[in-house]
């Protein structure tokens, strides 16, 4: 390791624009040379201000030094440069947890979990909840169903897809919808879309083409599909699934079916009744 540090230092001296400052600062951080690590990372960022990994590295150095707000700001910068960066979201959650903002920490962790399955994140969520005194009863849910309603569709969707389950009144029962800035806007989106199911119901009733199964529309920002929920929510409940504009419609249809099946299992197991 010492040899590596020396060789990276030499290389950086020869070529100050080299990206070798990244492994160098990381090695220094791991060795506990936090001031030096911060200096190397900061100088590297002067040459590469739009490099998200460099901001992520500096954030970790700040966090190790106990400069939590500086760390948070650097991770925030990472998200601006690279929306959906799981490491940055987890880092921000760590900062908020350390600052005692458990609710926001949990929200960030849930967001990170929605982007990619990760056992560490699940454990972190449990830790945050235990710390904030929230007791989650998962006894009634099968082990393959997540206990957190926000995560109902985790594992089914990629990071450019999102799904949520709405009640007849347009309220969000499960799932999430994150805006580019990381805010969960599920409730707003759900309320905006809820009236479409009434129109679908009306059209199919008067045209005599049977009950409606789905509406898919291609929009500028997303391909969106709506489908009536089955089982306990059959009376007006609706599943909303959105993907990136380039998502093939056939794939969206298939994902919709999978999400509906999960919703059915979740509702059958008591999800949405306050147990989950």
């Amino acid at each position: 390791m010492a040899d590596d540090v020396r060789s990276w230092s030499d290389e950086l001296a020869r070529d100050p624009a080299s990206l070798v400052f990244l492994p160098l600062a990381e090695a220094l951080r791991r060795q506990g040379q936090l001031d030096l690590a911060r200096k190397v990372a900061t100088r590297g960022l002067e040459r590469h201000p739009h490099n998200p990994e460099a901001h992520d590295l500096l954030a970790r150095v700040h966090a190790d030094r106990g400069d939590l707000q500086d760390a948070f700001d650097e991770w925030d910068m990472v998200l601006r440069l690279l929306p959906g960066h799981v490491g940055a979201i987890k880092g921000m959650a760590f900062v908020r947890f350390q600052q005692g903002a458990h609710e926001e920490a949990e929200r960030l962790l849930v967001q990170a979990q929605g982007i990619g399955e990760d056992a560490d994140i699940s454990a972190a969520i449990d830790t945050v909840r235990r710390s904030s005194g929230v007791v989650v009863s998962v006894e009634s849910l099968p082990p393959d169903l997540p206990s957190d309603p926000h995560l109902l569709f985790a594992g089914l969707l990629t990071n450019d897809q999102t799904a949520m389950l709405l009640t007849k009144d347009g309220l969000v029962l499960a799932g999430a919808y994150y805006a580019a800035d990381g805010r969960d806007v599920a409730q707003d989106v759900g309320a905006s879309l809820s009236g479409v199911s009434d129109e679908a119901f009306r059209a199919t009733r008067h045209l005599g083409i049977g009950a409606w199964r789905s509406i898919i529309f291609e929009a500028e920002e997303a391909v969106v599909s709506l489908s009536p929920a089955r089982g306990a929510l059959a009376d007006g409940g609706m599943l909303v699934l959105a993907g990136a504009p380039a998502t093939p419609l056939g794939l969206l249809r298939r994902l919709l079916d999978r999400c509906l099946t999960r919703v059915e299992a979740w509702l059958k197991a008591g999800g949405g009744t306050g147990l989950a």
């Binding site: 905006s192 479409v196 129109e199 409606w212 969106v224």
Partner: protein, 115 residues
């Protein structure tokens, strides 16, 4: 009588499983031109599809999805496909097992005629 939409509607009705093709006023829900198979109620299709189209467009904008393009309502025994702009909507009523991919391509191509 031939209108500027006749060719578009004829091309759509020739697709397998298509029962009706219409050009509808988006705001009034009235059929401007149509090609209907026997048993299809053009005025009813026009009123309901325009209403669905307007609602979906408004909702999509409110939800931040931006302007909408092709739309499809799938039901147990049929489909409604829609595409349009502020004033006109091109509507296709098709059977459930119709080739919606082909219909979509034809409608996207035809949508220019509505502009």
């Amino acid at each position: 009588m031939t209108t500027r939409f006749t060719a578009v509607l004829d091309a759509l009705i020739r697709q397998r499983g298509v029962r009706a093709s219409l050009v509808v006023s988006a705001t009034d829900g009235i059929a401007i031109d149509s090609n209907l198979q026997i048993g299809q109620d053009g005025s009813r299709v026009a009123a309901l599809s325009a209403s669905l189209y307007r609602k979906a467009r408004r909702s999509a904008t409110a939800a931040g999805f931006g302007a909408t393009g092709f739309m499809q309502l799938e039901a147990e025994s049929g489909r409604l496909c829609l595409i349009g702009g502020d004033e006109l909507v091109l509507v296709v009523v098709a059977e459930r097992d119709a080739n919606v991919g082909m219909i979509r391509v034809e409608m996207l191509r035809s949508a220019e005629a509505l502009a």
